[in-house]
């Protein structure tokens, strides 16, 4: 055994003491990593949703429920449907400053004999759609044909399978990449297919709650404003000139979500800070107790010729090893507690939730490791500084 292995021996041969210190540091690391991971995932989810929407303005039916329902479809993956006359699309397109206006039609399937799964069905116009189409293009490069559907990543239907919706058989031609939003639980088809599904739904007794002389229904119009045009002005014009609709700026639609996310972020950060402060205090006490308990042992090392600096290095090596192992354990615990339960967390929070990239997760884990080592190091250095003031001669005579 070399002298440099003394810290290992001390840790391994005092398992109770080591386990207690390890648990403390693991708690600290788990709080930091777990909290950061959840916050990061929420932030990623919201960013992903904002990026996926890509529209400046969204035009919805003016009913009070449509905006809430629309947000719930996007954020929580709940199902919903609301309609307006398709002529709205022409009025929007006619507005000055509008570069593109792309319609979507919604339909909620039933969890009944007629339908394989209860999902949100979204009909898009492949010609004009700039919201879903580019996303679909990442997975499926062909035009969506008659009764062909593309499914979000959380829909349990594989490519090539048949999906029964209102007794109509649709064919799954692609699965989309994850967004961490409600869009992951939706099924996408062309507007022509949607018309057939709407008719089938009506035949099953699902009413569309709209008095229209046409069967041409849409649920939302996504608007992209021309470069140089003021989005606010176009939005105001649409609200003033197109009847029975509400035009909403896409960014403002998620302001409250963003605000609540900021609130959660602050709360979690505060919690992490409190856990940190508590862990630091507890670690300081734990290390102080450990040092007190081992005063004689350290005095013996001094007697055998270990310098004050050497003793400090010994203590720091022990606390460092303990902190590192505790940090790794804590990161592992947090990972095991967060990654398998992302769906549950997403459902509970009711917010878009997308696990950050592997690089970001690794960066978070590294920061956690460093932060935990820092706290362990501070506590260890403080304990070592206290010890170096103890006279070995006096410590050796204690308890004689």
């Amino acid at each position: 055994m070399g002298a440099s292995r003394l810290p290992f021996k001390n840790l391994l041969r005092k398992p109770g003491r080591t386990a207690a210190l390890l648990l403390l540091t693991a708690l600290l690391a788990a709080a930091v990593f777990g909290g950061s991971l959840v916050i990061g995932s929420l932030r990623s989810g919201l960013d992903s949703l904002e990026a996926r929407l890509g529209a400046d303005i969204i035009v919805l039916p003016s009913s009070a429920e449509s905006k809430v329902s629309f947000k719930n479809i996007l954020l929580q993956g709940t199902t919903g449907a609301f309609y307006m006359d398709a002529s709205v699309l022409d009025q929007v397109r006619a507005a000055q400053g509008v570069e593109i206006a792309a319609p979507q039609t919604f339909l909620a399937s039933l969890k009944a004999d007629c339908c394989a799964v209860k999902v949100q069905i979204i009909g898009i116009d492949p010609e004009t759609d700039f919201i879903v189409k580019p996303w679909i293009d990442e997975s499926y490069s062909h035009e969506l044909g008659d009764m062909e559907v593309v499914v979000g990543c959380n829909v349990t239907a594989g490519v090539g399978e048949t999906l029964k919706i209102y007794d109509q058989h649709t064919h799954v031609v692609a699965r989309l990449a994850e967004t961490g939003t409600g869009l992951d639980t939706a099924v996408y088809c062309s507007l022509d297919t949607m018309k057939k599904l709407l008719a089938a739904a009506e035949a099953k007794g699902v009413t569309h709650q709209i008095s229209s002389d046409t069967d041409d229904l849409i649920s939302a119009v996504y608007v992209k404003v021309k470069d140089g045009w003021d989005v606010g002005l176009v939005n105001t014009w649409l609200n003033g000139h197109v009847r029975k609709v509400t035009a909403v700026r896409a960014r403002s639609m998620f302001t409250d979500v963003s605000d609540s996310l900021a609130g959660i972020s602050r709360a979690v950060t505060g919690l992490i800070g409190a856990v940190w402060a508590l862990a630091l205090i507890v670690l300081l006490i734990a290390f102080a107790m450990m040092i007190h308990e081992r005063r004689r042992e350290f005095a013996v090392l001094r007697l055998l010729g270990v310098s004050r600096r050497g003793l400090r290095a010994e203590i720091l090596a022990e606390t460092g090893l303990c902190s590192l192992a505790g940090a790794l354990l804590g990161v592992g615990i947090a990972a095991a507690g967060v990654f398998p339960f992302t769906t549950l967390i997403e459902t509970r929070l009711g917010l878009p939730y997308l696990t950050p990239s592997a690089v970001t997760v690794l960066r978070l884990a590294s920061v956690t490791l460093l932060a935990t080592l820092l706290v362990g190091g501070v506590a260890g250095a403080w304990a070592a500084a206290r010890l170096s003031r103890v006279d070995p001669g006096v410590a050796l005579r204690e308890g004689e």
Binding site: A3, E297, V300, L301, L303, G305, S307, D391, L396, E400
Partner: protein
């Protein structure tokens, strides 16, 4: 070899008539190679304090300690620690084992702190001579007070120090082990040329010293007329 020059250790206190007292007062003493120097005295007379100052563990309030030509207490901590590691072996009065190491690892520790591997065979010979070789893999918590004391003796002798400072090394030992331990310390002086200071209350130990001193009230008195030459029985063990 190791020389104390007008060494004093003064402690300050708030209670009592005087605001300070001397645990050791104006002590001069030389430990010579090849000799066992005995130090006796009542409890609280300053023996252990003097030993700690000689070991470089306790900075005296007055006086100097020389090892060879080096004044211990002008050295920075690193150099003093190194000197203690290489040249001074201490057998403290109290329990001095590292609990997380085995008996053998404890004995090898001084050499390893010195950056050496440590001679396991030599360490085992000392453990055998002291009758605890069978406990080499035991942890200190499994040992009796006497066995721990013998382990500390083995550690001091196995380290190759020039000066051995032993503080009541036979305190927990029975007669047989007391004789064995004292013989080993005597041999360390006689055969290896070490300078040995033996702080003791044990009458048996008085037979093993070349010179004898007594401490009383922090002062050192020569007790040369009572010192005897070596006449301890041979143990028949080579160390």
């Amino acid at each position: 070899m190791l020389k104390a020059e007008s060494l004093s250790m003064r402690y300050f206190r708030k209670t009592g008539k005087a605001n300070h007292f001397f645990a050791v007062h104006d002590v001069s003493l030389e430990l010579r190679p090849g000799e066992v120097t005995l130090l006796t005295g009542r409890s609280g007379s300053g023996k252990t304090t003097l030993l700690h100052m000689l070991a470089g563990l306790l900075t005296p309030t007055e006086g100097k300690v020389w090892l060879g030509g080096t004044d211990l207490y002008v050295l920075p901590d690193k150099a003093l620690s190194r000197l203690r590691r290489e040249k001074i072996g201490v057998i403290p009065q109290s329990r001095s084992a590292i609990d997380t190491l085995t008996v053998l690892e404890n004995v090898l520790l001084p050499a390893q702190l010195n950056g050496e591997k440590g001679d396991e065979q030599t360490a085992m010979r000392w453990l055998e001579a002291l009758g605890i070789a069978n406990l080499k893999d035991a942890r200190p918590a499994e040992l009796s007070g006497g066995e721990l004391r013998r382990m500390a003796i083995a550690r001091a002798l196995a380290g190759g120090a020039e000066v051995i400072l032993a503080d009541e090394p036979t305190g927990d030992l029975d007669d047989e082990n007391t004789a064995a331990a004292l013989t080993l310390l005597r041999r360390a002086a006689e055969e290896d040329g070490k300078a040995v200071l033996l702080v003791t209350h044990d009458n048996e130990a008085l037979r093993f010293g070349n010179r004898r001193f007594r401490m009383d009230g922090g002062r050192l008195y020569s007790d040369e007329q009572n010192a005897r030459r070596f006449d301890a029985p041979e143990l028949g063990k080579e160390c």
